[in-house]
């Protein structure tokens, strides 16, 4: 079975390649936006000498030029995504890139397509405090109120379903929580934000839906190989820490921060004020936090990975060990700078 991984040079993508090969895939095509990184290709070929590993460079925005990339592919894992940039760029790189890819994959009759989506597509605002976020929770209608990233990912998933209906490929969707690990970011905005020399601790006692990048990659490989067509999976690890504990461990292991704790009620009030000020000042300050965003992302919830476990996924790296590895990476990174 030939498997194509888009965004194979990315933080998650490169681990997905290793997980697929470890799971027995022996014919892998890796997509990169530019040239294939030599180090990654050599490492994979050394670790998995029996596998056929090939690289292809393509810009997913080039509609109509992706046929060669998807030719003879049985299963495609679409991990390429835009994580930064303006709202329009994020949308173009996420949604239009996906549309172009699905058009090509549909025409090439790719049998199975796995989409790496996000927690941000869930409509979590109506959930009660302490409620369970699992795959049964409704999705956002358009995600606009949760910001450009949620908007792009929500539309991407909708498009994915439209093309599944049109071309009839087997669809599998994975929605990871906060992917972390060496090479990733230190803090999700769920934990807090750094501004003006302070770290504003926002998530506090809420559970942080972490998934260590290698565990997440294993989950993608499991789902690609074993999930029922039409299924969707949340990807989170076991033993999730609270945001407060993550921050404490970071400070203990990496660096001290000047932390300003922001209680949930103050955060909601602040977001309400910011939204009003944004409107009154005609956009002088951006309404990055609105009451809807705060209620959706910062209320304490519980998370389930039962569906993933049901298809045989096991957490390879325990959360404690994963956090230690991650903090060690940040500590060494700081020391080298």
């Amino acid at each position: 079975m030939k498997v194509l991984v888009t965004g194979a040079g990315g933080f998650l993508g490169r681990r997905i390649c290793a997980s697929l090969l470890a799971a027995g895939v022996d014919d892998l095509r890796l997509h990169f936006r530019g040239e294939a990184p030599d180090a990654l290709m050599s490492e994979l070929r050394e670790r998995f000498p029996q596998a056929r590993i090939e690289a292809v460079a393509a810009n997913l925005l080039n509609r109509g030029n992706l046929g060669e990339m998807v030719a003879n592919v049985d299963c495609m894992i679409h991990a390429a995504a835009a994580m930064r940039g303006s709202a329009a760029d994020m949308f173009a790189n996420t949604v239009i890139g996906t549309r172009n890819l699905l058009e090509a994959a549909g025409a090439a009759q790719v049998r199975r397509i796995v989409l790496i989506s996000s927690f941000s597509v869930y409509c979590t605002e109506p959930l009660a405090r302490g409620g369970m976020l699992d795959e049964s929770v409704a999705l956002e209608a358009d995600g606009v109120d949760k910001g450009p990233y949620a908007h792009a990912k929500t539309r991407q998933e909708q498009l994915f379903m439209e093309y599944r209906d049109q071309f009839g490929f087997e669809s599998v969707v994975l929605r990871p929580g906060v992917i972390y690990g060496p090479g990733g970011g230190a803090f999700s905005s769920r934990v807090g934000i750094q501004a003006m020399g302070f770290f504003f601790s926002l998530g506090r006692g809420a559970r942080l839906p972490l998934t260590y990048v290698e565990n997440c990659a294993d989950a993608v490989a499991s789902a690609a190989l074993h999930a029922e067509p039409g299924s969707a999976f949340n990807v989170v690890d076991d033993d999730l820490p609270t945001c407060r504990r993550y921050l404490r461990e970071y400070q203990r292991n990496v660096a001290r921060l000047r932390v300003l704790p922001v209680p949930y009620w103050a955060f909601v009030l602040g977001a309400r004020f910011l939204k009003r000020y944004h409107r009154r000042s005609k956009g002088q300050l951006p309404a990055v936090f609105t009451p809807y965003v705060v209620r959706s992302m910062y209320r304490p919830l519980n998370y389930s990975n039962a569906a993933l476990k049901a298809i045989g996924w096991k957490q390879g790296v325990a959360t404690e060990e994963a956090m230690q590895r991650t903090f060690r990476y940040f500590r060494e990174l700081r020391a080298s700078q």
Binding site: N59, N62, G85, A87, A88, D142, H151, Q284
Partner: protein, 384 residues
């Protein structure tokens, strides 16, 4: 009977009707459409809404998903993939053109022919010929053309305008302009990551996309005859992609027009990313920083000896403090938005449309900018 209850009622109704009529007139907003739904379109929609003189009723992009995303995020009622359909159905007063520049002339002429005024993003047009074609269409159809040379309308630009009108600087001797570009920022990354990005297709590549901002601030002091000297080169390491590597990222130029000279720097490597202008006059000189929104008179020693050299630093500190206070006032009055200059410019442009003022950026300045860009690009190719 005058003063009776009936008369009061009639007056009240009359007054009410008049007020209503006035209200209706005041509320008669311009119907505006946006063509091109990339990142700069957000700025147009936000500033049109902020000044409240027009309503964005429709957006258009050849890529249906891009039109959809802008309409969805900004809650705009109509979206199109064909300009002709938008123009026919929406009866627009103004079309804002925010597409890549290669399409500006054809879109502008189509919109002008449909009776719309046009407001064009920079770069105004890839060539002077295309710029002239836009103005010819505008003349034929009796419509106004605006361009988003927003920095002349930021607070330092407006203060400079005032100083020049007062004659405080005397005659202009020299202007030194600098503009930084962050290739690691949102815009820079988009250009660097995609060899098919439209910037690579411009004759002057990256510089062609920013020179409007650099030159629009100085062209008003230049005549139509000028000579240009240029140095340009790529300072960053090669990426391995021929198209991306063909894009220089450092530019220096010297323009002479009569008795006035302009020196300029566009740099992708100098830090902090600068955006400044120094104006040297026969009476006084000023330094404008568009990034921090300050304008200060240049330091001058007015007292003799070592004692005299102690004073200018404090004088400058006081001048910067004054700028700080004024900026605080602007922030308090909600006049400190990132696109505040665009807001002022659009207000003046809409005034011009409604016959209440001149074009905020005269056609002559746009054409002179266009010609200078062509000269710099041509000289830059020779220099490389």
């Amino acid at each position: 009977m005058p003063g009776s209850a009936g008369d009061t009622i009639v007056r009240a109704i009359g007054g009410l009707c008049f007020r209503d009529f006035q209200q209706i007139l005041e509320n008669q907003t311009l119907r505006i459409g946006i063509v091109g739904c990339g990142k700069i379109a957000d700025g147009h929609v936000e500033q049109i809404r902020a000044i409240g003189r027009g309503e964005v009723v429709a957006v258009c992009d050849r890529e249906a998903l891009m039109a959809e995303q802008l309409a969805a995020r900004m809650r705009i009622p109509a979206r199109y993939t064909e300009l002709s359909r938008m123009l026919a159905e929406q009866k627009l007063d103004v079309v804002h053109i925010a597409t890549p520049p290669a399409a500006h002339a054809s879109i502008a002429c189509e919109a002008l022919a449909a009776g719309c005024h046009v407001f064009v993003e920079k770069p105004f047009a890839p060539t002077t010929l295309e710029a002239l074609a836009i103005f010819d269409c505008a003349r034929e159809n009796g419509r106004r053309v605006g361009v988003n040379y927003l920095y002349n309308f930021e607070s330092p630009g407006l203060e400079l305008e005032k100083l020049l009108a007062e004659g405080s600087l005397g005659e202009i001797v020299h202007l030194d302009t600098s503009y930084g570009y962050n290739l690691g920022g949102d815009y820079g990354l988009a250009v660097m990551a995609d060899p098919r990005h439209w910037v690579h297709g411009l004759p002057g590549k990256l510089f062609h996309n920013v020179l409007d901002h650099v030159l629009a601030k100085v062209v008003t002091h230049l005549g139509d005859e000028s000579s240009v000297q240029v140095e340009s080169f790529r300072r960053r390491a090669a990426s391995g992609n021929d198209i991306v590597d063909a894009m220089p990222d450092e530019l220096r130029f010297l323009i002479r027009s009569g008795k006035v000279t302009v020196s300029g720097m566009v740099s992708a490597h100098a830090r902090p990313v600068t955006h400044a202008l120094k104006v040297f006059g026969t009476k006084d000189s000023v330094e404008l920083d568009y990034a921090t929104r300050t304008l200060v008179r240049s330091a001058q020693q007015t007292q003799p000896s070592a004692i005299g050299r102690l004073f200018p630093a404090w004088t400058q500190a006081r001048r910067y403090a004054g700028n700080g206070w004024r900026n605080l006032g602007r922030f308090r009055r909600h006049e400190f938005h990132y696109f505040e200059g665009m807001r002022v410019l659009l207000n003046r442009y809409y005034d011009a449309i409604e016959g209440r003022g001149p074009d905020p950026v005269p056609a002559a300045d746009i054409l002179r900018t266009s010609r200078l860009i062509e000269s710099i690009v041509a000289a830059s190719k020779v220099a490389r």
